[in-house]
């Protein structure tokens, strides 16, 4: 938790999800009187369901084919969403402001070549010396450019190359928590006067067998069940991954005003921690995380939850929300509609909170147990309870 001095405005949103692309488009789809049908791919990765990428014309934000070729879909998605955010903030072609803009990206591991992995595995099945097989095959099978698509910091690198954002460039890594810490870091830097304007966000490609495997090693994926988050718990719960890219332009309010930019909303605080997850310990820790948020936490009227559907931790999150706010407060578990995007989830949920605040209306329930909103949102709590580690909270408010 950082001492808040300067106000931190959200002045640009770049959002891509299974529904499509763009801030306005997402509000049109998600902000109506009833929630849309979730878009899910149920066959390709069965027994797992994922929310797939929409159709995207990459060249709209990544004009050079050469640049597109140097990336795989995870980096394309992030670079694309970053471009949308810059456009939305009116900064896209402002060379002076992008060259002084700070960049902080939440990233996971890069792409693997699944076909090449399959071929080596097939050969390894009956091979007596698998270490030798690797050194014989990999030099020929690996594409040199793929390595660059595998480096975590190369999403940021591509954003610098394609969109010319070069003030500074940092990549934070590590599941849902990376999404929390990038926002927390940028908010702290702007509040303290270390940065005036920054591009921050993350992306996730859910349609990757190698990433499904990582989550399933811990048995965290939902199997044969594509229900929304709360209902999913009845079947044992689990993650339904979703492809998304979410970037935000955050600015010092004075800096934004001086260039005539208008805010969606302000982020008035981010707080996070990690530790043991027995019921008692996590309840005490989350209470402290919450208490560290600024005073306006007392006016929270709506909640956007990053709950993944992983049973224990989702139940612990809802127990906290129940205890803190009572059971009537409208909570929207956005994983039900756009899936879990790991590093991209928290930035996406901040973006959705900002859209609701700007439009003066909260999202409709996406499942039976979610309460309808009776008030126009003014102060939204955004939550992140990582599937295995870490908890974070952010306060997003109407300006």
């Amino acid at each position: 938790m950082t001492k808040q001095n300067r106000e931190v405005w959200i002045t640009g949103i770049g959002l891509v999800s299974c529904f499509g692309e763009g801030a306005t488009y997402h509000w049109d789809i998600l902000g109506g009187d009833s929630a849309p049908e979730a878009i899910q791919e149920k066959e390709l990765f069965a027994p797992y369901t994922v929310h797939p990428l929409p159709e995207i014309d990459w060249s709209k934000q990544i004009p050079r084919r050469g640049d597109q070729r140097q990336m795989e879909n995870w980096q394309r998605l992030g670079t694309y969403a970053a471009g949308l955010a810059l456009d939305d903030a009116g900064l896209k072609d402002n060379e002076e402001l992008v060259s002084s803009m700070d960049l902080v990206v939440a990233a996971g591991g890069g792409e693997r070549d699944i076909d090449s992995d399959h071929q080596i595995m097939a050969e390894a099945k009956h091979h007596s010396d698998r270490d030798r097989l690797l050194i014989e095959r990999l030099p020929n099978d690996l594409r040199p450019t793929l390595f660059l698509a595998q480096l975590s910091n190369l999403l940021a690198g591509n954003i610098s190359i394609v969109h010319k954002v070069t003030g500074s460039s940092r990549t934070y890594m590590g599941e849902e928590n990376a999404g929390v810490t990038v926002i927390e870091n940028v908010v702290a830097r702007i509040a303290a006067g270390q940065s005036t304007h920054a591009l921050v966000g993350g992306a996730y490609n859910a349609e990757r067998l190698d990433l499904l495997l990582i989550q399933e090693l811990g048995n965290y994926l939902s199997r044969n069940c594509d229900d929304p988050v709360i209902k999913r718990l009845e079947n044992g719960g689990g993650i339904i991954p979703g492809s998304s890219g979410a970037f935000l332009v955050l600015e010092d309010a004075e800096f934004a005003k001086a260039r005539g930019a208008t805010p969606y909303a302000k982020i008035s605080g981010v707080s996070s921690d990690m530790g043991a997850r027995d019921d008692k310990t996590i309840a005490a820790r989350v209470k402290t995380i919450f208490d560290n948020l600024p005073q306006s936490k007392n006016t929270i009227d709506s909640i956007i939850s990053g709950a993944s559907g992983v049973k224990n931790i989702t139940e612990q999150e809802f127990a906290f929300l129940d205890q803190q706010f009572g059971s009537d407060i409208p909570v929207r578990a956005t994983n039900s509609l756009i899936g879990n995007s790991m590093e991209g989830t928290f930035p996406a949920n901040i973006a959705l909170a900002a859209l609701a605040l700007k439009n003066g209306k909260f999202f409709p329930p996406s499942e039976e147990s979610e309460k309808p909103a009776t008030l126009d949102p003014k102060t939204i709590l955004v939550t992140s309870f990582g599937h295995r580690f870490g908890e974070g909270l952010a306060l997003v408010e109407k300006v």
Binding site: D131, L134, F147, L148, V165, S169, T171, I214, M274, F389
Partner: protein
Amino acid sequence: MSAKYTDHQGRPIIVVTGMGTLTSLGRGKKDNWDAITGGQSGIKKITRFPTEGLNTQIAGTVDFMNTREVSAPAISYAMADATAEEALAEAGFGSDGFPGPLYFAAPPVEVEWQHRFSLMDENPDAETGYSQLLEAARKKSHMHMHLLVQIGGIAYRLAEKYQTKGLPISLSTACASGATSIQQGMEAIRRGDTQAALCVASDGSVTSEGLIRFSLLSALTTQNNEEPHRASRPFSRDRSGFVMSEGSAALVLETLEHAKNRGAKVLGVIRGVGEKADKFHRTRSSPDGVPVITAIQRALDDAGIIDNHVDYINAHGTSTPENDRMEYNSLHAVFGDKVSSIPISSNKSMIGHTLTAAGAVEAVFSFMTMQCGTIPPTINYENPDPDIHLDVVPNEKRNAEVSSVLSNSFGFGGQNACLVFGADVV
């Protein structure tokens, strides 16, 4: 805050009170310092996996960690644990936990081939491929493997063990990551978020696939497989690529006031940092050098260095043809012709390129340079590059009073981070 605790910009003075390091030359500061001031190389033939037929068969591997499995996350964690422990012990933080956040420069971790093979063997009758691996994963939970391949996993474990505050940060700026971890600690302290920060960097990713990936980018030297100790030749005419290596370092950062109040010994001062991202290319620097020049100048200015005077430069000095030329040109642009009279050396000539860890390992050696009054050499400097006019402290250590150091770190993806260290509070 009293003026004696603040720097030229009124910010808290940041000092180092504990350090740890571990490289292919050994475990701990003392063994490493003895080795690098003795001009010893840690580069050797790879024995971890077969290398016949590979263009590059050498590396600076760390082969003494005795981990349950030999994988990037297992070795990287073990090394980070060792250096964090060394640094915290020196700083005097014990079982009460650490009063600040963890900034961890994290290597890339993922499911490795050994994991894929072991999952295949758990489920041998299924059709080969990822569906087979997923089926094995469904049959029983693999929580340890899951923890190993969480990209934030090493930092989570360190944070729990050493009881650092808040969510740990796992960061990557490629080969500048070690410097970035220190930078992140500095920024947090300067913001007033914390009085102390634990900065750790670790990289143990010499796997066959890791080596081959760098090899395919033509980044590694292929010239000295039979004489590994001669392979890393920064600033030489016959340099031909870097040597992939493993290592770790940890530094405890505190405000001077915090250190004094608890009676901790000050090992040195972190005076400034400069950063500038490059938009030119994924693996190459802008030909005009402007981002690197800007990062260096920003670091000197941030440190309040007058007339760009530093006593010593700890080079990025990877031994690739391009890096060393670019580094020289950029230094020349900042310091002018007098750059030729500033001693500069590359620790990588001896320990190779410890990648994610390099900036932090080299920070530890920079502080030891100031503490001991000894500049470690650049070894293998037999054929000077005629276009690079630097005093590289060739082949033999040199005794010199050093009270300020510039340390450079550059990485793929346009990452440039430079740090300025001081021996004493100025």
